[in-house]
């Protein structure tokens, strides 16, 4: 196992996911298999090779800061699980 049960629980929590019960072992096994497999990359000599984040040469894309038509309040709230007075409603924060 390349990843322990505790690591699975910890990493899942970082991603705001809860893995519980039998799923912890299954997730540890499956993610562990994948991590073992990706070890093959260590065979590649990447000394001095720059990393690629985007395959195409992309420079910053700028546009003029001009006002335009955007989603109105009702449109922005239309898919909200809960909304009130033109605002998103969430459970208590602290």
């Amino acid at each position: 196992m390349k990843i322990t049960r505790d690591e699975v629980i910890h990493v899942a929590a970082l991603a705001r996911l809860c893995v519980a019960g039998d799923d912890i072992d299954r997730m540890a096994d499956q993610v562990g298999d994948i991590l073992s497999y990706v070890e093959t990359l260590s065979r590649v000599d990447t000394t001095g090779v720059p990393p690629t984040a985007h395959a195409i040469d992309i420079n910053n894309a700028f546009r003029d800061d001009t006002p335009g038509r955007h989603l109105d309040n009702a449109g922005a709230l239309a898919n909200a699980p809960e909304a009130e007075d033109g605002l998103f409603v969430v459970p208590r924060i602290i």
Partner: protein, 486 residues
């Protein structure tokens, strides 16, 4: 001949000559969906009423001489492309009730061209999968053999096209998700060059790899659809600001003098099925007979593509999918009484197992202490994969090989072992990592009657040469009209 059997270019001719009406064509496709989709389960939503209204508008435009290039053409759209007012689920419970307030850029382009959307089609949840079995709603079946998968993640798009439940479809391809289902279902599919088609309104999976493209009944249709959806869009900061060639006009199917590179790594692979090998080699022979020059090339980092991809794509996904928090849209667990509990409960109940696996894998690969060993290493290997292609395209115009190591596999065959499923993507991932265009064109059938595709990959923005080479294959094979019996 039924109207739903027509290709886009055939239908366009008949519409222009006013031998058929757009409404008749749309009705024929809707009736076909009614008749066969209970067997294939390709559609998640059928938009019959709006389709009829759009078809009537197309008839008016045709009568008035103002018709666009896709006027009255019924299309299916993968359910991760935002469609204003029409539910867009990504085949996920977390977006099961999401109705986009805007259209994706490609939908605006299709609308302007006069196309008629007949519905939204099934996929692997958030495009994560190679079989469409990760859909939260249903399994789509391969129309050639209902016990087999259609491929994925654009499995609904490919099945709908080959079962004549639309004249063409849009899918998306992050690691092979257009080309592999196109190969498994026997249709033409293109993943365009990264930046060729706007991603505005495409629900993001791995943003540096995602690209929207067409699935079509033949090469000519794929070229027509590509011409409509390609082009610059300022709302996508990675959109390429360069002219779009007239792909249809450039089609001649003449490969005389063209150099085709055959990558040894794509044929030395252990898991390649003998029927796939035979069909692909037969297609390459046909290209030679038609006047192409075939040379051996090497893409030495091919064996590392799966490992690099399954670090980079999950890393990007873990970041992109952070937006599903149960606040602005999507599923919320209403029982949670504190915000952080609500996030965790909503995401844990809303995402399926494969999506959670990739989020966890990606979060791990990006986490403190592992970033250099995993994400950075994979990004460096990505550079080497790009260099492989740059070197290859100094010697050849097109690279040809298999799309997938085997024909369509059985439903359930690979669901228990995610790594085995990932390994089936070995021949398609590299094009996404490099950003180059890749196309699948039908080139034969296995002994048991399952379609097999030939993959053609080209240099950046060389889609036209892929279409032209694919047309040569299509003509030589003579199987573009073959359809499964349903």
């Amino acid at each position: 001949m039924q109207l739903y059997e027509l290709t886009i270019h055939e239908a366009r001719d008949l519409l222009e000559k006013k031998e058929i009406s757009a409404l008749e064509l749309t009705e024929s496709v809707l009736a076909r969906i009614d008749a066969v989709d209970d067997k294939t389960d390709a559609y998640l939503t059928v938009t019959a009423d709006t389709a009829r209204a759009r078809a009537k508008a197309a008839d008016k435009a045709i009568a008035g001489g103002t018709a666009g290039p896709l006027a009255g053409i019924p299309l299916a759209i993968k359910d991760l492309i935002c469609t204003r007012g029409v539910r867009t689920t990504c085949a996920s419970k977390i977006l099961s009730d999401f109705v986009p307030p805007y259209d994706a850029a490609v939908m605006e382009r299709l609308s302007t061209a006069g196309a008629v959307m007949v519905g939204k089609v099934n996929m692997d949840e958030f495009a994560m999968g190679s079989s469409t079995e990760n859909s939260a709603f249903k399994n789509t079946k391969n129309p050639w053999d209902l016990t087999r998968v259609p491929g994925g993640s654009s499995g609904g798009s490919a099945a709908a096209v080959v079962a004549d439940m639309c004249l063409g479809a849009l899918g998306s391809d992050t690691g092979g998700s257009i080309r592999q289902p196109a190969s498994h279902c026997g249709v033409v599919g293109l993943k365009p060059t990264y930046g060729r088609v706007s991603r505005f309104g495409l629900v993001a999976y791995a943003s540096s790899l995602d690209q929207i493209g067409p699935l079509a009944k033949d090469v000519t249709d794929a070229a027509i659809l590509s011409g409509v959806i390609s082009g610059y869009d300022r709302r996508d900061s990675t959109s390429a600001d360069r002219p779009v060639p007239d792909y249809g006009a450039a089609l001649a199917g003449d490969v005389t003098g063209r150099t085709i590179g055959i990558p040894e790594e794509y044929f030395n692979s252990k898991g390649i099925d003998p029927d796939v090998r035979a069909a692909v080699e037969n297609a390459i022979s046909a290209l030679k007979d038609a006047g192409a020059k075939c040379i051996d090339i090497s893409l030495p980092h091919t064996p590392y593509a799966v490992a690099a991809y399954y670090l980079i794509a999950p890393a990007e996904a873990s970041s992109n999918l952070a937006r599903y928090d149960g606040v602005k849209y999507g599923f919320r667990d209403m029982s949670a009484t504190a915000l952080s509990d609500m996030y965790t409960a909503s995401r844990s109940a809303g995402f399926g197992p494969e999506v959670q696996r990739r989020i966890i894998l990606g979060t791990y690969a990006l986490s403190a202490g592992y970033y250099d060993a995993y994400y950075k290493k994979a990004s460096q290997v990505r550079t080497l994969i790009i260099n492989d292609f740059k070197n290859a395209f100094k010697k050849c115009d097109v690279i040809a090989g298999p799309v997938a190591p085997t024909p369509a596999f059985s439903l359930g065959e690979k669901t228990q072992d995610p790594l085995t499923m990932y390994l089936s993507d070995i021949f398609t991932l590299s094009a996404n990592l490099a950003g180059i265009p890749g196309l699948s064109v039908p080139c034969g059938f296995s002994k048991s009657g399952l379609p097999i595709g030939l993959q053609l990959m080209g240099n950046y923005f060389d889609e036209a040469i892929l279409f032209d080479t694919a047309l040569c294959v299509e003509r030589a094979m003579g199987i573009a009209h073959k359809r499964p019996r349903l």
